[in-house]
Symmetry: C2
Subunit: 163 residues, 2 copies
């Protein structure tokens, strides 16, 4: 099986696939609430496409995985973005791939550090949710609507995602 | 000044004002990702009204307050819901009020425990963000659009919010 090395998650490398959601003190923010709160504004491109489409907020409670992680399949959501943010300080694994004629290409693996979340753009191949350190609750912002919004692709040969 | 006692946040009491966002194992969930993830689905009524309205994801980094908390004003957002979920295990204060002829009525104060978030419905009077234990980052899901989406109401006499 092919091995894929995990890299740190950065906005630059993740940009083709989605948004890294994080509060970066070096970027602009607004001071609100009499200076008690910093607003890091509008960090993700959220979208809900199709019939009766709307944005929903859910919680995913994910059991942890250990590394190396065996990646057998990827998924994508043609009708909407999907954002994940841990509800506690926790790392998680972010796996994406370019599309190659309707199939997921070679995966890229990123480690989201504490305080980072991601927003996958519509139709971007990504791995299922992979908590690492502990059972982790994630706030999820994604799309509800009429059309089926899940495609799966099974790799012929699985990948090992490793540090 | 009038004193308001803080109560525990429950879905039942908060229902007229918005959603309590929490993973309640007693409620229905779907098992996804080969049984590794529980999906607590569609926990909040998200809305974005007005011209070119859309849902945005932001982070609010809030300095902590101590109790009793002095409540001088409330705010509301006529054109959209606004959801708050801590990105670490932290409690925060949730203050709402009924509308009385365009003014905020007597406030109600709730303590959101670790793992709980809230979604305020459009046009619901609520207090500014009040972190309690530590500087806390919140994931915020609210509305972007053309129309001004903030109304403030200053109380003639402030309230003390206390345990």
């Amino acid at each position: 099986m092919k091995k894929i090395k995990i890299k740190n998650l950065t906005k630059q490398e993740f940009a083709p696939y989605g948004d890294v959601i994080e509060a970066d003190e070096k970027t602009d923010y607004m001071l609100i609430n009499n200076g008690k709160t910093k607003r890091f504004h509008d960090l993700a491109r959220v979208s809900a496409l199709g019939t009766n489409a709307r944005i929903a907020i859910s919680i995913f409670r994910s059991k942890p995985f250990s590394l190396p992680y065996r990646l057998d399949f990827m998924e994508r959501h043609p009708y909407g973005s999907q954002a994940f943010m841990p509800m506690s300080l926790a790392r998680f694994l972010v796996i994406v791939a370019d599309d190659e004629n309707g199939k997921a290409g070679e995966p890229k693996a990123f480690l989201a550090k504490e305080g980072q979340g991601v927003n996958y753009y519509p139709n971007i191949w990504h791995g299922a949710l992979v908590a690492l350190d502990k059972e982790t609750d994630f706030l999820v912002v994604d799309r509800e609507g009429v059309e089926k919004n899940l495609e799966l692709y099974d790799f012929e040969d699985a990948y090992w995602i490793e540090e």
